[in-house]
């Protein structure tokens, strides 16, 4: 897979075993237009398919991860067109990524930008990050997970305040609420995110994907079903070389070498 560079609003680079996906539209605070969303969906799919990649870091700029959807793009949508829109498809593609994703958030992370970050598996933020779902102030609601994903991390009250007031919260408040998993100085954000992603990438890749799949099962099934699903996924892993290697390495008191088989 070639690196996408130059004037693309979404850039992907491979630093094996990581893929670094960067939203790069600083003149618009990384606002999400069709090009950005299509680029993100493509980058995530490419990273998911690339055998060199075991974990993904998704980031934006120093001043903005993403300030949200391009208003011009939203204003062209209708009740009929939105469910099948590029916006909806792009977010679905991001959420469908099988490999672990670390969101590295600095500056504004609002609206659709916040929905992208919260759809990732781990969120590391700089002390300058600001999170919010301001859609209600435009007479609409978050349409890509923003009425659901806050609750999963921070509880019903925080979800309600975010969706109903549209008020932003700062990085330290986000950390206290559990919206963010770790807080770092802005200057250390990308190295910290990459360090964590490398840690995730060092784990057995099949188990990583299986764990993510099992965690996401609760998005589509009740608890009982998700628990049964977890058992089935675990049973499948026991047949893998990586599981044999992991258990053998533990018993032999040596580091495991996982090959993704």
């Amino acid at each position: 897979m070639a690196d996408h560079a130059g004037d693309q609003p979404v850039q992907i680079s491979i630093d094996e075993p990581l893929a670094i996906v960067r939203i790069d539209r600083p003149e618009a605070r990384n606002a999400l237009n069709r090009e950005v969303l299509a680029g993100l969906a493509r980058a995530m799919a490419d990273a998911d398919a690339d055998e060199r990649v075991r974990a993904i870091v998704l980031t934006g700029g120093h001043d903005a991860f993403s300030a949200g959807a391009d208003i011009d793009m939203l204003s062209g949508q209708t009740a009929a067109s939105y469910p099948e829109s590029e916006t909806a498809r792009a977010f679905a593609a991001i959420r469908a990524t099988r490999k672990p994703i670390v969101a590295a958030v600095s500056g504004f992370c609002l609206g659709g930008g916040c929905e992208i970050a919260l759809a990732c598996d781990v969120v590391i933020a700089s002390d300058t990050a600001v999170f919010g779902q301001p859609e209600i102030r435009l007479g609409i609601i978050p349409g890509a997970g923003g009425t659901q994903l806050w609750e999963r991390r921070a509880g019903a009250g925080t979800q309600a305040m975010a969706a109903l007031t549209g008020d932003p919260i700062g990085a330290f408040a986000a950390r206290r609420l559990g919206l963010v998993d770790r807080l770092v100085p802005a200057s250390a954000l990308e190295p910290a995110a990459a360090d964590l992603a490398r840690q995730l990438a060092s784990r057995a890749p099949l188990a990583s994907r299986a764990a993510k799949k099992a965690m996401r099962a609760s998005w589509t099934m009740p608890l009982a079903g998700a628990l049964d699903h977890e058992v089935a996924v675990m049973a499948g892993l026991l047949a893998t070389e990586d599981a044999h290697e992991g258990i053998a390495a533990f018993l032999e008191k040596r580091p495991a070498t996982f090959r993704g088989r």
Partner: protein, 172 residues
């Protein structure tokens, strides 16, 4: 250095706007001007701006110090001033109480509230002449220590450039 002059009729909303603008991109901020204004509920907005900024803030105090002035003295990283006169009971405002605990600790906050000469008490505790020691990184570390559990605050502080540079120098 950015300079913010608090004017006679500057209300809390205007102060918040002016402060927000002043700290954006500034290396340091010097605040001076009218300090005798009472605090109202809307003051929490600019107090939060000053609390959150990593820009070192210096206060030049002069004349009559009211609730707003006291709040600024507590929030500033250092201040200096002579011939200061405290507006009676300014130290007993609830916002001052909350700020004082945060900046001085519980016991010192209580002493401030009941002191015969609160200004002298505050000056003794807070007065720092000369301001070059306060850096943006120190403020970031202070804020992290105030907002995060200790383990997380330590992890945060260890990633600040000064901590990393120090480590690099030691290893040479």
């Amino acid at each position: 250095m950015a300079v913010l002059e608090i004017l006679k009729d500057m209300d809390d909303a205007a102060l918040r706007r002016t402060l927000s603008k002043a700290v954006r991109g500034a290396d340091t901020l010097l605040v001076r001007g009218r300090l005798d204004t009472p605090l109202e509920g809307a003051a929490t907005a600019w107090i939060k701006v000053l609390h959150a900024t990593s820009v070192p803030v210096f206060l030049e105090a002069a004349g009559s110090v009211g609730e707003r002035g006291l709040a600024l003295m507590l929030l500033a990283d250092c201040f200096d001033g002579d011939d200061l006169r405290l507006v009676p009971d300014a130290q007993r405002h609830p916002l001052i109480a909350a700020l004082a605990v945060h900046r001085l600790g519980s016991l010192a906050a209580r002493r401030l509230a009941v002191a015969e000469d609160p200004l002298a008490q505050l000056l003794a505790l807070q007065r720092v002449e000369g301001a070059s020691a306060v850096t943006s990184e120190l403020k970031q570390a202070w804020r992290a220590a105030g907002e995060l559990p200790l383990e997380e605050a330590l992890d945060f502080a260890s990633l600040l450039p000064a901590a990393r540079d120090h480590k690099t120098e030691e290893s040479r």
